[in-house]
């Protein structure tokens, strides 16, 4: 049985984007997703001694993250419930209304959308993981974060023609990888 190791110094580089995307598709708020991500890493540090090496580092971090997301929903649901009880659950005629108001919330994705987005997100991040680090960084900045070419060039100290060569290689590798792992399945 493989004995996986933890390396917290590499967590940000290896998993931060993947875990952030996983979180934001579920909580729909960038600031909250960042807080949950940070809490997950901190909780991971505290639980390192409990890691048995049976799961991969990423799987282990995801299991912590899932608990953090559940905790977040428990917390807001209890707060929201209390607030709505105070506002609407105060007469006999309104009895029970607040519960339905809590359930109907258009801001959240439905289970099917979450699953589909999450599977596609996994496939893309798995392909991104296979790119050389610099290619992955440039590709993410240009394609996911939609940075201007000039901004990336200044940030990474590369020329525009250099950037387009990197993007070209990254796109070929990504298209091939997605062809194998997503379009064919």
């Amino acid at each position: 049985m493989p004995n996986h190791q933890l390396n917290p110094k590499k967590w940000i580089e290896r998993y931060s984007d993947y875990l952030f995307n996983y979180t934001i598709t579920r909580v729909n708020d960038r600031e909250i997703a960042k807080d949950i991500l940070q809490d997950t890493f901190f909780a991971g540090l505290k639980s390192m001694k409990n890691f048995k090496g049976e799961a991969t580092e990423r799987t282990w971090l995801i299991s912590i993250l899932k608990r953090k997301i559940i905790d977040y929903y428990r917390k807001i649901n209890s707060k929201k419930g209390q607030a709505e009880v105070r506002m609407t659950y105060n007469t006999d005629e309104n009895e029970g209304d607040w519960l339905e108001e809590r359930v109907e919330d258009e801001g959240y994705l439905n289970a099917e959308e979450i699953l589909e987005n999450s599977e596609l997100g996994d496939a893309i991040y798995n392909c991104l993981d296979k790119l050389p680090e610099k290619q992955a960084t440039v590709f993410k900045m240009k394609t996911i974060l939609n940075y201007e070419t000039e901004t990336i060039c200044n940030e990474l100290n590369i020329t525009a023609s250099n950037l387009w060569v990197i993007i070209h290689r990254a796109r070929i590798a990504m298209a091939e990888c997605m062809e194998k792992n997503w379009f064919k399945s």
Partner: protein, 84 residues
């Protein structure tokens, strides 16, 4: 005129890449379209590249900005020092 209208395969790929980010000019698109008509390799590349763009867009993928990532990294390193 006709010379500048004809572009190499490499130039077609480059224009196609730029088009995925809306950074190609109208004239470049015309040149690419012309090559697309008769060059099978260009057609394959353009179709594949466009499919990748559509998939990435539909995924609504998010990732951390450089500054956000750096902030979490600094906090994690600080925490790591305290844990050790």
């Amino acid at each position: 005129m006709s010379r500048s209208f004809l572009i190499s395969k490499e130039e077609a790929f480059h224009i196609c890449d730029k088009s995925q980010y809306r950074e190609s000019t109208l004239w470049e698109k015309v040149k690419l379209s012309f090559r697309y008509l008769w060059c099978r390799t260009t057609r394959l590349y353009v179709n594949r590249n466009t499919k990748l763009t559509k998939t990435l867009k539909s995924s609504k993928l998010e990732c951390l900005h450089y500054s956000e990532r750096k902030l979490i990294e600094d906090r994690l390193n600080e925490q790591l020092k305290n844990e050790m």
